[in-house]
């Protein structure tokens, strides 16, 4: 085992990938640093889907402890760590919603409102905070430029965990229309977010 110094400053300056490498060596300080860096983002991603604070807390616990037990589940080939972690959280949250047979009313706060009301994630690493804020701004801008019906359909699918058929029924629109909205919206998002796609 390496001799781990509980030097907060040192861990704050480490990249996500360096912290994950230390997790493989069972470095609890690295785990604490990752938790400090991303717990709010994971909590928020879970809460956005399950809409229940207690369930979201349980999911934060489950996801971080899984990271601790199986740090090898993340590799750089899976893209940026923050993107991977929030995506894992969203997928787990959708599974939870579906397994409970629950469907939450979809709230369509506009991206502009979301950005104005709530700041981006604060981490203990200023450079990372700035990078995440920039990335978030880019994604929100791309979403805000979509026609409202395309944005709504994508959000219902991604955050609401609804299938295209279910969206069609909820919106009273033909299934083909829903599929087209998703395809066109995602094409525009992909074009706008290409610099962020590192896969």
């Amino acid at each position: 085992m390496p001799n781990v110094s509980p030097n907060d400053e040192l861990y704050r300056e480490m990249s996500d990938e360096e912290l994950m490498q230390r997790l493989v060596l069972r470095d609890l300080e690295a785990f604490r640093a990752l938790y400090s860096r991303y717990s709010s983002l994971v909590y928020s991603a879970a809460l956005r889907v399950v809409r229940d604070a207690q369930i979201a807390e349980d999911m934060v616990q489950e996801i971080f402890l899984r990271l601790w037990r199986k740090p090898e589940s993340y590799t750089a080939q899976r893209g940026k760590f923050a993107t991977w972690l929030t995506s894992v959280t969203r997928n787990r949250a959708v599974d939870e919603v579906r397994s409970r047979g629950r469907r939450f009313r979809h709230e369509t706060a506009s991206p502009e409102e979301a950005e104005r009301e709530l700041p981006g994630p604060e981490t203990d690493n200023p450079a990372l905070t700035a990078e995440l804020a920039d990335q978030r701004r880019l994604i929100l801008t791309a979403l805000s430029r979509l026609p409202a019906e395309q944005r709504q359909t994508i959000e219902m699918a991604y955050f609401g965990g609804l299938t295209q058929q279910e969206i069609s029924e909820r919106l009273g629109q033909p299934l083909g229309t829903v599929k087209t909205r998703i395809r066109l919206g995602m094409q525009k998002l992909r074009a706008a977010l290409t610099p962020e796609l590192r896969w």
Binding site: V24, R26, L28, F31, R32, Y35, S36, S40, L41, V42, Y43, S44, A45, L47, R48, E57, V60, Q61, F64, L65, W68, R69, K70, E72, S73, T75, Q77, R78, G79, A82, T83, T86, S87, N91, D95, L118, P119, P121, L132, R136, I139, L140, A157, Y158, G161, T163, Q164, Q165, I167, K179, I182, R183, G185, M186, Q187, R190, L193, L197, R198, W199
Partner: protein, 276 residues
């Protein structure tokens, strides 16, 4: 009978699939198609990457402060129980070449496999004490290493040879579903040798085999079929037959005991060599 969809039809559906919103019939059609079509597979990867970014756009709320201590306390408890990294992470030891000089390749290769089995046993111990019978089976394999077949020794030699190359590479072979297990492909380009280690593979139905494939453009190179009774695999391969650089490696389930010449089912796992 519904005709199979072509690439254009499949691409119309990929974004819905990437968002997790495709229905079962569309999902099945997509999975079957991308098993044979690397271009649509790439397109799907791009859609999935775009979808993944959306999660970063959520409004941020602070996690409750009480959570931190609760989670850290659990992590500490798990550490005290001897939680260990997985066996393939612990295999990456830089001292093997020197050891080889002292003991000779074959004997050290035997040590490598014995050590690997030991680690697997330790993992089982760590994960669940109820897996005692599996531990005993693995331990028996370890203790009976003197009775290993020549085929096993050949596999050990290949694994050792790859890992003793400082320039060896590895790539994660990702499961198509969340309960599809884990695998790593490790290879030495200069020695044209490689091996795949798997863990947690789903059980096979009677008469089925797993089969490995290299994908290079539209060409599929059939590799060894294999069985796995315990969810694990150790498959070695000689890469000298490859006359082009593959794009990735995949695993399918096939009906033919000796393996197939083309994948007949969707990927169970796939790893891309992009970036390697």
């Amino acid at each position: 009978m519904v005709d199979k969809m072509d690439c254009d039809q499949i691409r119309e559906l990929l974004d819905g699939y990437a968002l997790g919103a495709a229905d079962i019939a569309d999902s099945k059609a997509i999975e079957e198609h991308v098993a044979d079509c690397i271009r649509c597979w790439d397109e799907l990867s791009s859609s999935q990457a775009t979808a993944a970014l959306l999660a970063l756009a959520v409004p941020i709320e602070d996690a409750p402060s009480r959570l931190e201590e609760r989670i850290l306390a659990q992590a500490r408890r798990q550490s005290k129980r001897g939680d260990r990294p997985p066996f393939w992470q612990r295999l990456r030891i830089g001292t093997w070449p020197a050891t080889a000089g002292a003991f000779g390749v074959v004997s050290v290769a035997a040590l490598v496999l014995s050590g690997l089995l030991h680690f697997q046993v330790q993992d089982l111990k760590d994960q669940n004490s109820d897996l005692k019978s599996q531990m005993q089976t693995a331990t028996a394999r370890f203790e009976n290493s003197s009775a290993q077949t020549s085929s096993q020794l050949a596999d050990q030699t290949v694994m050792f040879s790859v890992l003793s190359d400082d320039a060896h590479k590895d790539v994660e072979v990702t499961a198509a579903s969340s309960n599809g297990g884990e695998a790593y492909y490790t290879w030495s380009p200069s020695k044209a040798l490689g091996f795949v280690l798997c863990d947690g593979l789903p059980s096979l139905a009677a008469g089925k085999v797993y089969q490995l494939w290299f994908v290079a453009g539209a060409t599929m190179y059939a590799l060894k079929p294999f069985l796995s009774t315990d969810g694990k695999c150790e498959v070695t391969m000689d890469l000298s037959f490859l006359d082009e650089r593959p794009d990735g490696i995949g695993i399918t389930v096939e009906d033919t005991p000796g393996g197939s010449t083309r994948p007949s089912t969707p990927w169970v796992m796939y790893g891309s060599f992009a970036g390697n």
